[in-house]
Amino acid sequence: MNLFVYGVVNSITLVLIALGFTLVYGVSRLPNFAHGALYILTGFVTWTFLHKLGINYTAAVFLALIFTGLVGAAIYQLLLVRVRGMPDSEIMVSFAIGVAIMESLRWKGFVGSSFVLSPFIEGTVNLWNVPIDLQRIFIVVEGLVVVALLWLFTHQTKIGLALRAIAQDEHAAMMLGIDSDLMAVLALALGSSLAGVAAIAILPLSNITVDAGYNVLIYAIAVCIVGGLGSWVGVLIAAFVLGFGQILTAAYIAPHYQMVVTLFVIILTLIVRPSGFMGRQKEIEERV
């Protein structure tokens, strides 16, 4: 039971982390390697608003999310838009920007145990005799709410439909008057904010460290690769596979091997089903 509860929490955590990445990649075919950096940036910006400027928690969170969204949009508008369609350059530029953000945070002295966001909800409850703190339950609830809202957004609103149209067929969408670049900016801003949303929920569980950014980036891409890039259902399934895989490894072997398991799952997926669980339409393009 213990394993089940924490497995679910871990899986939802992975879903939250991966959503932003898969949104951006799904819409604009842009691998945002700065994802982890934006995640960790949100944490530190919130902390700064909270402790240096003395804004209250809710306002700080919203400001931080808007800030991260703007940073994401700026990255696209200033840099990525000029290298669209060149996958190598896209990867290198976004990775460089991500590393630059993370390392400048480290340089500015954002290292140490004083950088803690307090949980929204204190206390623990017993769930089927498993003690679990309310923040973790909050993560599960938030994850489900975000997925539901995103589903509504992409299926019911006009902007959401436009995003999906671009993802399906860029040329046809442009003929119908959808601005592809504008949508890509929107997607990147939204994706960055989603990274922020994940950060706000997950970071209170421990210290904010810069190294978490690299892990987040790797786990986000791992989930997307296993699930099939740009596929929503795939992300959910892959997150649960990886989430439970990690928890089981930590319980029965050793916590150090979590990343080994992740890599093992990726490689197994690539050998057995190269386009991921759900990435049907990209099979021919991505694989030689």
Binding site: R82, V93, P274, E286, R287, V288
Partner: protein, 337 residues
């Protein structure tokens, strides 16, 4: 209404036109014109250690050459085979640890450990990257980014190869001149060899894999085999750099898997000029001293070369080498259109 616009017109210099035809061998001036760029590179590399003032800068030279080798490996894989490898640290790590453990457990001398580590490390790297080779772009980039991080964790967890402390007091080179001329020689040889390789038959196959892998496959050529071959060739020099580094400092540790070894070579390749093989050497010779002088500011140097790299990709994607090449061969002037 007339629209007045200007554009740059580029014309080949007379000497270029003469020198690239049969008349190239007819006069010393033309011969010199053709040979000068390479002679500057070769002689420059050979002279540098003699003119540098201190031991510190001689060590910097060694680091430059290590980054140059990694840069060449990255450039070759990215621009001639189409594999973006974000994990140069993997090569360094495998080469370094193999050389280090051979030296500390069996007492082999560097003259033996370095060749074994280069070939063995390359074989292992190719083997572990093999499952993801049929894929391209983002998949390979991610997996190659994960491996170095993962290897560091495994070594930490198992405590093998000295765990977090590393293996101290390994054999070093007899003197500083061997240090420098060994690696400078390898840099020169591998630059020239890779230039040759990409124009051989194998190189043509590799370049066409980058351009259109479906067409290569349709010609009944095994794409995965050639990609594996390319990774093997590139990781030989990568692993050599790792083994060399181990014996340079007489120490091997987890820091061999650090991010520096993955990013600086990429930045060097981008600054120098992608797809030129010589570019990364030039890039490494510009970036490494700057990065060394920023060492006092800690991680700021990583920020610095990340920003340079992003700036170059976006605003000057051709890189320095191609820019100089153009200035050397052509003159430009504005004309009205």
């Amino acid at each position: 209404m007339t629209i007045r616009a200007r554009r740059k017109e580029r014309l080949d210099r007379g000497i270029k036109v003469r020198a690239t035809s049969i008349y190239g061998v007819s006069s010393l001036k033309e011969i010199f014109y053709l040979m000068a760029p390479w002679q500057i590179l070769i002689l420059g590399l050979l002279i540098i250690p003699l003119v540098l003032p201190s031991m510190y800068w001689q060590r910097v030279i060694c680091m430059m050459c290590i980054f140059a080798l990694l840069g060449i490996a990255f450039d070759f894989l990215a621009n001639f085979v189409g594999i973006v490898c974000l994990g140069g640290a993997l090569f360094i790590g495998f080469g370094g640890y193999i050389a280090g453990s051979l030296n500390s457990s069996f007492g082999l001398s560097p003259a033996l450990t370095i060749p074994i580590a280069s070939i063995g490390g390359a074989a292992i790297t190719t083997l572990i990257l093999l499952p993801c080779l049929p894929l391209r772009g983002i998949y390979f980039a991610t997996v190659s980014l994960m491996y170095p991080l993962m290897m560091a964790r495994i070594i930490e967890a198992l405590g093998i190869f000295g765990g977090t402390d590393g293996l101290p007091s390994l054999a070093t080179y007899p003197n500083i001149w061997v240090d420098q001329y060994l690696i400078i020689g390898i840099v020169l040889i591998s630059t020239l060899a890779f230039r040759r390789l990409v124009n051989e038959d194998v190189g043509v196959v590799l370049r066409s894999i980058k351009d259109n892998d479906q067409a290569v496959r349709a010609s009944a050529i095994n794409v995965t085999f050639f990609k594996a071959l390319a990774v093997f060739i590139a990781s030989i020099i990568g692993c050599f750099a790792g083994a060399y580094l181990t014996h340079l400092y007489g120490w091997v540790g987890i820091s061999l898997f650090a991010l520096d070894f993955s990013i600086l070579p990429i930045a060097a390749a981008v600054v120098g000029g992608r797809g030129t093989i010589v570019g990364p050497v030039l890039g490494a010779f510009i970036l490494t001293p700057v990065s060394e002088s920023l060492r006092a500011f800690g991680t700021l140097r990583i920020v610095f070369y990340c920003l340079i790299m992003a700036g170059f990709i976006v605003f000057m994607p051709e890189g320095l080498i191609k820019y100089f090449q153009r200035k050397y061969h052509q003159f430009e002037h504005w004309i009205e259109v």
